[in-house]
Symmetry: C2
Subunit: 478 residues, 2 copies
């Protein structure tokens, strides 16, 4: 919804809003029963005062286009003239409400939406800043690509052969010895999880993970009926896994290197323990390793490197390092599993972008990728240091954190439980966008995932100042 009223128009802002909303409804674009955003959100979207929105909504209610339900918001009317108009339309709202896939949390929908706006300071974004992306080098590499006619065609189910071979060479440096037949190219790590969800698990299967986890903020498993169980990485791990698993199929999802969102790095011992416990219980491990190239110091081998029995499904990607826009990642596992998941991928999107695959191949083979990583790590280290200095100045006394060992994030823990949806919205009103802890653990009101990877230095300074003000305010109220 990007429309805004025209301030040069002869009509008032209110009239324009009324006309625009009516048009959405008449065209069937806003179906009967659609819930409108709050007045505050609409005011921000339209770039007008809240009172203007309020008056427009009153008029629309008087016209019968909208209706209000006490305490629950404003909706497109389901009855009267509107219902007459829509008698011939499919009841889209009903279709949406009864369908299979969960919607994103509202907070995440807002994050996805506000990340598109230029006037917002993004303190939580899990993405490299435009200035950290090798745009010029990428343009140059497009000029170096020579395309084969076959390149433009459908790719093979597991992805481009040469790219899979290049990935085998690449992961060898992480101690992973595999053949191209063990690799499936995917459109980013999230798609790998989606394929595992529908291609390996049955309804009611258990997905073990750490209690605070990226997986709680997306729904590849939940949407197809898996049960998520948070589990501590401690000495009771073996016992807990064994008890809770009972007779069900299960997998363990882990991000052992630069965990999202906590940025924690597992020790070798912790990796070994998990592998052994899961081996004893015959529980496959999904090892999400998309951040490892961003460790400021040398990284330890992944769990996959100790996998002698095809127990670990390993996920890598260039989204956090080179360009999320390419949508290229890889999934490594036993041939039986990889062929199965590639078969489903063919039924899902007929493979990943061939041009994107060519580009990643070129970057891996030419050495550009590793050269870029060296520079990138240094830039992220500088940003981490800068951000931590601000934290030291402003947030000592109200929050704790660990010095980041790499990656994008500081898992900032406030002493008081102030980080709730209201707090998120209040910051958004001040044009600061955060990733609150509760999207990674529903109960959490103490954390935010602070990212030093996206905002500019000036924005980091300004955004953290605003964050500080809002935290102080919220703490005072408590």
């Amino acid at each position: 919804m990007s429309w805004q009223p025209n301030r040069q128009s002869d009509s008032t802002l209110q009239q324009q809003i009324v006309q625009w909303v009516t048009a959405q409804v008449e065209r069937g674009d806003w179906a009967a029963g659609t819930k409108l955003p709050t007045q505050r959100q609409l005011a921000m979207q339209f770039g007008v005062n809240r009172s203007t929105v309020q008056q427009a909504l009153e008029e629309l209610k008087a016209m019968g286009v909208l209706e209000a339900t006490v305490g629950s918001g404003v909706y497109v009317t389901r009855n009267s003239w509107h219902a007459l108009l829509q008698q011939t339309q499919p009841n889209w709202q009903n279709y949406i409400e009864t369908s299979l896939h969960k919607p994103n949390y509202h907070t995440i929908q807002l994050i996805n939406e506000y990340e598109q706006r230029d006037d917002v300071i993004r303190l939580g974004t899990g993405e490299l800043a435009p200035s950290l992306l090798p745009t010029e080098e990428m343009e140059a590499s497009l000029r170096e690509l020579s395309l084969q006619p076959k390149t433009l065609g459908y790719s093979s189910p597991q992805g481009k052969d040469e790219l899979r071979a290049a990935i085998c060479d690449y992961v060898k440096k992480r101690g992973i010895e595999v053949e191209p037949q063990n690799v499936c190219i995917v459109s980013g790590a999230l798609q790998a999880l989606q394929l595992i969800a529908v291609g390996l698990l049955e309804q009611g299967s258990i997905v073990f993970q750490e209690p605070t986890s990226y997986l709680n903020s997306v729904h590849p498993f939940q949407s197809v009926g898996m049960q998520m169980i948070g589990i501590q990485r401690d000495e009771q791990l073996a016992q807990t896994l064994s008890q809770r698993k009972r007779k069900k199929q299960a997998v363990f999802y882990a991000i052992p290197t630069l965990h999202n969102p906590t940025n924690y790095v597992w020790t070798s011992l912790e990796k070994k323990q998990l592998y052994e416990v899961c081996q004893a219980e015959r529980i496959p491990i999904i090892e999400d390793d998309v951040y490892h190239e961003l460790l400021f110091e040398d990284s330890l081998p992944p769990i996959k490197a100790m996998d002698s029995s095809g127990q670990v499904l390993y996920i890598g990607s260039v989204s956090k390092t080179l360009s999320p826009g390419l949508r290229i990642g890889w999934l490594i596992g036993p041939t039986t599993v990889i062929e199965r998941l590639a078969d489903i991928k063919m039924q899902t999107d007929y493979g990943s972008s061939a041009i994107s695959q060519e580009i990643v191949l070129h970057w891996l083979r030419s050495g550009k990728y590793e050269k870029h990583l060296i520079r990138l790590r240094q830039q992220l280290q500088n940003r981490a240091d800068f951000t931590e200095r601000i934290l030291q100045e402003k947030f000592r006394g109200v929050a704790d954190w660990h010095k980041p060992k790499g990656g994008f994030y500081i898992w900032l823990k406030f002493h008081k439980p102030v980080i709730d949806k209201d707090f998120f919205l209040k910051l958004l009103q001040r044009r600061v966008l955060i990733n609150p802890g509760y999207i990674y653990d529903l109960q959490d009101q103490h954390h935010i995932r602070l990212s030093y990877a996206y905002a500019t230095y000036e924005e980091l300074e300004e955004g953290l100042e605003i964050l500080h003000e809002c935290v102080m305010e919220a703490t005072d109220i408590l």
Copy 2:
């Protein structure tokens, strides 16, 4: 599985095969219970005689690595030394068998696999031949692209704004008047169907379609529990839809222009009838319009052009015209629906390749796309004429067909029901790959989807000669 024994090696072919299979099993790459391909298929894959395969399999059975079940094939052993070895491995085969998503039909898996081989004549492929793809122009256009830093980042949920605007302009020529907010960029038409399946339908919903349909060869709806109902395009349509729908949610899937696989083109009256019936029953229509640019003569407006009430979800793509490797298509519908599906797309793969989107934008805006289409249609027309001449010469008396009005396909109907799985495999042994009618309608043993878009002229001639021989042989047996 691309391994072949080395004929220069000191070991015999049989020894090499035994060693290779054992290694697959020991590494856990072939899990216990995995079914092996047939001897014939293995012989083709390894490039050896069938007797060599047979001897190798016997040796592996004697070793206990494989076991045979009478009448059902050869499996990786589930017990004895092998089971001991695998006690610590996850039971992958069990995971796969109980998981949610349907595998592709075996015939389609074979098609996907053999389409990767250079020594096969592809008479069924739904894809432009490499020589018809504008490879050089594409390379040139890569050199013209200027990337913004933001291009390399994550895209917005609905896809790149400029591309959506360009698509609005493009479909306007088809009589479709929409705004960018009505458009969601997808990774090909198949992904659009996948999003609709999980984002709009509930389990047990009905998907109406013509009895013979592309949708029977892929499983976006079936895999999440929808019920597919084939329905004739005739005067009883209204009555049948109303009766069979009863209280369930339903959609109607149609390919009104150059239907896949029949290549049929609906008349304006047929489109109008379907629209009116579905409007009366409030059944949304999914209009798959990915072939319309390939009509040899001017095309009629799509159903979407008569849609005044947001009833039709319209799907377009560049996969059949410019490059399937780009993986770019679009879904057009009411904002409420598009926002919902874009939200799910964000949970599925975080958007389509940004570089692919840039390329399609460049081709649309620069006019290159339409220029390319003019040349392409002419080339397809020539291929259609050439192929039909061969059919006239060889197949009159054994088969019927309609003169193609565009696109890729001739829906070749043999008088005798000879097109079964055995026939498919027999042709494959002779290195000719077809798309048999039974993948589009399980009961069909009369048709093949003959594609004149992929094979070279020489291959078309040779392949059709072999097809003719096999058909005559099969007819004699009947």
